[in-house]
Amino acid sequence: MTEQPVLAVEGLRKTFGDHAAVDDVSFAVPPGGSLAIVGESGSGKTTTARMLVGLERPSAGRVLVDGADRTAPPRGRTARLARARAIQMVFQDPYLSLDPRVTVADAVEEPLRLHFDLDPAARRARRDELLDRVGLGEREAAALPRRLSGGQRQRVALARALAVEPRALVLDEATSALDVSIQAQIVELLRDLRASLGVAYVFVSHDLSLVRHVADDLLVLRRGRTVEAGRAAAVLDGPRHPYTRLLLDSVPRPGWDPARIAADRRALD
């Protein structure tokens, strides 16, 4: 990895009162790369994701996008738009992340209007192209979010994020609110998009079984601290930290023993 990472995080820390939600987390994502951040609830993975897109301000540390520091809030319209074009985010719950009053077509057109100087016809064409990319047609375009299924909504959220043509996309548990079969479709879609658009992913998840399919690199967080990091396949096949092993053991499969996992979990605390 000699090229400059599209996204780099150095010594990131976020405290709420006395509690450190994220404590000294560092990582880098190369252009077109894919990093998964895993951990259970309260491990600080969502807070990390929110700091990446500027929804939370880090207490310490730096977030660098293409080498430019974006830790402090942006000043002025140009800086704000430049940041939006660098990183976009897809939220966990597609039932809450779309404006209930805005149709799918408008939801995708709005960011186009904000970021690009297109005439209406070109904007509509670009909108249809984006919706087509995520597998949505004219019928869905005219609908309000409440008429769509969870999977369809998440596709809308993806199209909306991609409309800005970001360098990196943060996916915060973007598939965990969906049914398993729909999850597989979205994961497939994410793989296609990454291959064709070269957009980098930061994939925040508690689901280790998913990580192998979407991520090159893996970062395991526990109580805000990095416990293990490396190539995804290497970490998943040979976990070194007991917490990573525990997370892997927790994935249900034949011979799965919830009682033993619970005992291991207590031993770790």
Binding site: V53, G54, L55, R77, R80, L81, R83, A84, R85, I87, Q88, M89, F91, Q92, D93, L96, S97, L98, D99, P100, R101, V102, E110, P111, L114, H115, A142, A143, L144, R147, A157, R160, V164
Partner: protein, 284 residues
């Protein structure tokens, strides 16, 4: 396209279901507004036409609601009274909703110190009795519709402002608002184009109820002699005026405007709660 059958269904449910009371209240409100607008064409007599020979006449074919102590037709005065009766609250609700929404959204969006200062300021106004403020303003500017309306407009700001602030605080933590921020929109645009329209139905419900309360407060002020001055027809002033007639055995000059106030206030309350219910159902 797909929205049409949905609306039709909602309409049918509203007409046939348990919402009969709300439909009735809505019809009452529409009638009151029509009466106020069309007063010159509806009123059978000049509301200020004196006819001392017909003073304190009971209900009859000529005067459906009788006459007051000066022989003025009570029905005509009631019809004209709807005008000041609705105009005052309309101004109060428009001004207090606009200011309250501004203060509430600003407090919710900025948070921190701005929120603390604006919220304490609203508490301060809240603690100040509106009627007292009105009496002070009347003392300064003189009686009439203006001073009480201005006072009530200020007094009602915190009712709207607190609600807007609380709802907006909740709404700004929702991912759809945050996704607008991530998209790069300015705070102004997000608030005006997305936050306010999404909380508007709830604010509207509160405003409908406030309309009823403001109507009552303004009627109370003119009953006390601070509001619309005689001989202008006004429901509150009519009750005051009819109090003497009551002693002489004629109930209608006081009772009719009293009933009008009750009916209007209750109707606004029911409609307001109906809107609030529907918003809550949609959110669920």
């Amino acid at each position: 396209m797909t929205a049409v059958p949905f609306q039709k269904r909602a309409l049918l449910r509203r007409l046939h279901g348990g919402d009969a009371l709300q439909t009735a209240a809505l019809i009452v409100l529409v009638l009151v507004v029509l009466v106020a607008v069309l007063a010159p064409w509806i009123a059978p007599y000049d509301p200020n036409g004196l006819d001392l020979s017909a003073a304190l006449g009971g209900a009859s074919g000529d005067h459906l609601l009788g006459t007051d102590e000066s022989g003025r037709d009570v029905l005509s005065r009631l019809v004209y009274g709807a005008r000041s009766g609705l105009l005052g609250p309309l101004v109060v609700v428009a001004v207090s909703t606009a200011l309250g929404a501004l203060v509430g959204v600003a407090a919710a969006w900025c948070g921190g110190l701005v929120d603390a200062v604006l919220s304490r300021a609203m508490d301060l106004v809240f603690a100040l009795p509106g009627l007292l403020l009105a009496i002070v303003l009347v003392a300064v500017f003189g009686p009439g519709l203006t001073a009480p309306t201005v006072a009530m407009s200020i007094a009602y700001v915190p009712y709207v402002g607190r609600l807007v602030r609380n709802v907006a605080v909740q709404e700004t933590t929702r991912p759809y608002i945050q996704s607008y921020r991530v998209q790069g929109w300015s705070g102004w645009t997000i608030c005006l184009r997305h936050l306010v329209p999404n909380i508007a139905p709830l604010v509207l419900a509160q405003s409908a109820m406030n309309f009823g309360y403001a109507l009552m407060d303004l009627a109370a002020l003119s009953f006390l002699g601070f509001g619309v001055q005689p001989p202008a027809a006004d429901w509150g002033a009519m009750i005051n005026n009819g109090a003497n007639a009551l002693l002489q055995g004629a109930a209608l000059p006081a009772l009719a405007p009293g009933a009008a106030i009750v009916v209007a206030v209750v109707a606004f309350g029911i409609v307001g709660e109906g809107v609030a219910d529907r918003v809550a159902k949609r959110e669920a």
